[in-house]
């Protein structure tokens, strides 16, 4: 099990002071990771690891350095911090580099965000193998098109303890349990369509192995005999497995680093109606049991629930202490904790799962995965490869392949026409299925 340990952090903090640090922040991160992989119903790989890394941030008379080491014996650590301090002193002064105002930092109360499931302690190599095997056995040898099934069980325990020279102390302990399945099948000609499924969560019971292989196989079979479509403007539905792809550029554009460097398509956009009124996006750090929930950020600043976008109006940027000082604006937080959509303009009782969204939109392209592409951070212009299905009258008709969607992020979000009620709680961004109208597709 993870050993809770404050002493190495306190020792490093003292060493930093002795080396002349005006201020310092030290964080110890420990993790234990175990996994079992089954390939075609045979155990293929067993991995086991545990590690500890010490992160050291030094502030010396306006100069700043950031360091990490996993050599934690006292002599090696003292040498490392001595060298780190010497390097830091050589940097150009930047008065914006300092620890945050202590009044902004988390001081309690201790709230249990339910990030740790002690059931992880019951897992043995044999149980991990059994769980991966369960996901494999439910499909292996059971379909004539099946070429390969690879399933993996993984569990991690992550511990961190952070302290700074102003008296901030914070500790976290988190578990993650994941089962995933990847399936390849024989397709048309030489094609070997592949798909996957995963279940993941803080709690052991959030990663059920039963059904994982079957979902992956069904998703692969659904891709048989894809067609290329003609270029044109289509309505699209992006399912909840991949919808975060179109949220990520917005989050990057409203983060302090992008704004301060003026490399953002959302400069000077606070308070402006940038997006569809259907878009209300909340950063909620206090949702018990969801990965990403947290009481403080990497600077030790206390988290808070914030409505980032309200009915299309941009309300908040993610500004860390450093970038706030650089830009002369108030600190918010260094980045999102748990992002979630709040439906607006819809009756809360109205069911809008993926099937209902397809019915609502009627005709268009359902995107189930992205294949590469990028978004210009300065302009918001994007172009992404996609994988998915044509749907008509609310029903999927056939898979499509080799198509790109192209447009501008702000324009895309102005054309948001429906928000699903089906977010998955397995990741930090709980983004539901989303529907947009009039998106440019390039095909044949």
């Amino acid at each position: 099990m993870i050993q809770f340990d404050h002493s190495i952090v306190e020792t490093a903090l003292q060493m930093a002071r002795e080396e002349g640090a005006t201020q310092a922040r030290i964080a110890l991160e420990r993790s234990i990771e175990n996994s079992a992989t089954v390939l075609d119903n045979q155990l293929d790989k067993m991995l086991s690891s545990s590690g500890s890394t010490l992160f050291i941030q030094l502030y010396i008379d306006g100069c700043y350095g950031s360091f990490s080491t996993n050599r934690l014996d006292p002599d090696a650590l003292r040498d490392f911090i001595r060298n780190a301090a010497a390097s830091t002193r050589l940097m150009t002064r930047d008065e914006c580099r300092r620890l945050p105002d202590p009044a902004l930092c988390y001081h309690g109360p201790a709230v249990d965000l339910q990030q740790y499931d002690p059931a992880v302690e019951s897992l043995t190599p044999e149980l991990r193998r059994e769980r991966a095997m369960t996901a494999s056995a439910e499909i292996f040898g059971r379909h004539p098109r099946l070429l390969s099934v690879e399933t993996e069980w993984g569990d991690t325990v992550d511990y961190s303890y952070t302290a700074d020279s102003q008296g901030f102390h914070g500790e976290t302990l988190q578990t993650t349990h994941t089962i995933n399945a990847t399936v390849s099948i024989r397709g048309r000609g030489d094609e070997k369509p592949e798909s996957w499924w995963y279940e993941s969560g803080v709690r052991l019971d959030e990663a059920p192995c039963e059904g994982c292989g079957r979902r992956a196989l069904q998703r692969a079979l659904d891709q048989l005999n894809p067609r290329r479509l003609r270029s044109g403007s289509y309505n699209i539905v992006i399912d909840n497995m991949c919808s975060s792809k179109v949220v990520a550029p917005i989050i990057r554009a409203i983060s302090g680093g992008s704004l301060q460097q003026r490399n953002s398509f959302l400069l000077d956009a606070l308070g402006k109606p940038c997006f569809s009124e259907r878009l209300t996006l909340v950063d909620d750090p206090f949702l018990p049991g969801l990965p990403g929930s947290r009481l403080f950020d990497n600077d030790g600043i206390a988290t808070a629930r914030r409505e980032i976008i309200s009915r299309g109006v941009l309300n908040n940027y993610f500004i860390s202490d450093y970038y706030a000082a650089k830009m002369g604006v108030p600190v918010t937080i260094d980045g999102p904790s748990v992002l979630r959509f709040v439906r607006s303009g819809e009756s809360p009782e109205k069911v809008l799962n993926l099937a209902a969204l397809l019915q609502e939109v009627g005709k268009g392209i359902l995107i189930t995965d992205f294949n590469g592409g990028n978004c210009n951070s300065g302009t918001g212009d994007f172009s992404y490869g996609i994988r998915g299905f044509l749907f008509e009258n609310g029903v999927v008709t056939h898979p499509v392949r080799e198509m790109n969607i192209t447009g501008n992020m702000i324009d895309l979000w102005r054309h948001l026409i429906a928000v699903g009620d089906d977010p998955r709680n397995s990741s930090r961004w709980t983004i539901p299925s989303l529907a947009f109208e009039g998106v440019n597709f390039s095909g044949i």
Binding site: L43, D44, K45, M46, L47, S48, S49, G51, Y64, G65, S66, S68, T69, N70, R71, F80, A84, S87, T88, L90, M91, D94, R97, P125, L147, S148, S184, G187, E191, K192, E194, P226, R228, G232, S233, Q261, R262, N263, S264, L267, N371, G372, G373, N374, N376, G378, T379, D381, S383, G385, R401, E402, N404, I405, T406, N440, F441, S442, G443, I444
Partner: protein, 470 residues
């Protein structure tokens, strides 16, 4: 070698003992990978070098194979008890303790050193590096009044590796990588654009020369005049002329991953059944090469004790070799090709590309462009991706031009190109004699991060799907 025994506080006898423990449950192969890596990075932002970042990472990874299956564990110290525990954990992949193999006596491997460090960093200390980076930023800022911000990074990684396996192979390796990267933000009439430039080599401080800066600054300067004129083209299916150099991303995504033999061993690659068959024009030969001096993808000896080498994947249009690690090579009954690589001691090695490039054809880029009535020419890229089984790959184009009646016309930008690997390879209908390797900071992210590089002569792909307006 003695320096490495001292660094990791081990002896040959101790290593042999660990290999013996690793094989104690009946494994048929074991290896042990010691690593000590230090990284230093300086950042220039807002005209000042005001942040330094350093990392020290130290540990040992132990792998056991049993009939192609893997047990892996690592320790972040070389205390005997912790290494012994890692060896016994990895040994658990096998469960036939009665069939215990004895590791072969260790013998030292030697290989040509493709990345000797000529410039010691102690002669190019932090203050000199800081001044160099500052100077680089100033040269970039002076290029245009439109440049409002420059972020530049100078990073230096140094890894000391000690490796041994149960076949008796023992080697040490000193692996440097120095990288210089800059992002320029430009503003004009309320519009914002950005340009990135990078160089990365397995070199020490000798890499940091004024001529390197000349080259990088010239590359940025060449793109500035077109940056605000560039538009997205009309999308659809069209001929694509790919410029020499970084267009090698096409090879990396379209065929490189599909040739990595772990995918083929599982039968899931679209090229799984193509060995020995004609897959493209006889004017095409593609290699994956570990032997280019100081190249980011260069390998003296790979991470499982196989000498780095030059591997022909396609020779005159015929698929001649996959890229193997020891597991896939045993599966196919061939010699490993030296492609077993890992991100660090925390990871088991898997087949990875090194420097993947296409050899020269004939003719020139101008002739190829002239042969296209309507299409696009592309010359700068950011990222790519591939679906191994379906073969569909993509890469993102940062800049290029429309081709109209055999001439470059309107600058273009920010488009994704999508194609199918085997079809795209077969659709390469012209190859110029201007092949060159791109020396940017290419990093492959297949499960683990790994430095690679790629290269290409100018080619014409007769049909790809180009993202764009409708």
């Amino acid at each position: 070698m003695e320096k490495y025994f001292s660094l990791f506080q081990v002896t040959e006898e101790a290593i042999s003992g660990l290999l013996q423990s690793a094989l104690s449950r009946g494994g048929d192969y074991a290896d042990i990978f010691f690593e000590s890596t230090t990284s230093d990075e300086l950042t220039l932002r807002d005209g000042e070098v005001n942040a330094v970042e350093s990392t020290a990472d130290y540990g040992v990874g132990i792998r056991v194979l049993k009939e192609g299956h893997t047990g892996y564990a690592y320790a972040e110290s070389t205390l005997p008890a912790e290494m012994e525990q890692a060896a016994r954990t990895a040994a658990g992949i096998a469960d036939t303790p009665g069939l215990r193999l004895t590791p072969a006596p260790l013998k030292r491997l030697s290989a040509p050193n493709r990345y000797p460090i000529l410039g010691d960093w102690s002669d190019f200390d932090l203050l000199r590096r800081k001044a160099f980076l500052q100077h680089f930023g100033e040269r970039l800022s002076a290029l245009s009044g439109d440049i409002t911000k420059v972020i530049a990074n100078l990073a230096y990684d140094h890894s000391d590796i000690l490796f041994a396996n149960s076949l008796g192979d023992l080697y040490c390796d000193e692996r440097p990588i120095t990288s210089l990267v800059a992002h320029c933000i430009l503003e004009r009439d309320g519009r914002s654009e950005n340009i990135a430039v990078s160089r990365s080599f397995r070199r020490g401080s000798e890499m940091l020369t004024e001529s390197l800066l000349d080259e990088m600054v010239a590359e940025v300067a060449a793109h500035i005049p077109y940056l605000f004129e560039a538009r997205r083209p009309k999308g659809g299916q069209m001929p694509v002329v790919m410029a020499a150099g970084s267009s090698g991303i096409l090879l990396h995504e379209a065929i490189g991953h599909a040739f990595e033999a772990d995918f083929n061993r599982k039968g899931i690659s679209i090229f799984s059944d193509k060995m020995g068959k004609h897959i493209c024009s006889p004017q095409i030969s593609v290699v994956d090469d570990a032997t280019l001096p100081a190249n980011r993808g260069a390998v003296n000896i790979d991470d499982e004790g196989v000498p780095g080498q030059k591997t022909y994947m396609v020779r005159e249009g015929v698929l001649t070799s996959y890229l193997h690690d020891r597991i896939s090579a045993a599966h196919y009954g061939v010699a490993p090709t030296g492609n077993g690589r890992r991100e660090s001691f925390r990871f088991n090695p898997i087949p990875r590309m090194r420097c993947t490039y296409m050899e020269n054809g004939s003719g020139s880029q101008e002739e190829i462009i002239h042969s296209v009535r309507r299409g696009i020419f592309v010359d700068a890229f950011t990222n790519g991706q591939v679906e191994i089984g379906a073969g569909d790959f993509t890469f993102y184009v940062k800049s290029g031009f429309l081709i109209e009646n055999g001439r470059l016309t309107q600058p273009i930008k920010d488009i994704n190109i999508i194609g199918n690997g085997p079809e795209a390879l077969a659709d390469i209908v012209a190859v110029a004699a201007d092949s060159r390797v791109d020396d940017g900071t290419w990093t492959c992210g297949k499960d683990q991060y790994c430095p690679v590089s790629c290269g290409m002569p100018s080619v014409l792909v007769k049909s790809l799907i180009v993202g764009g307006d409708v």
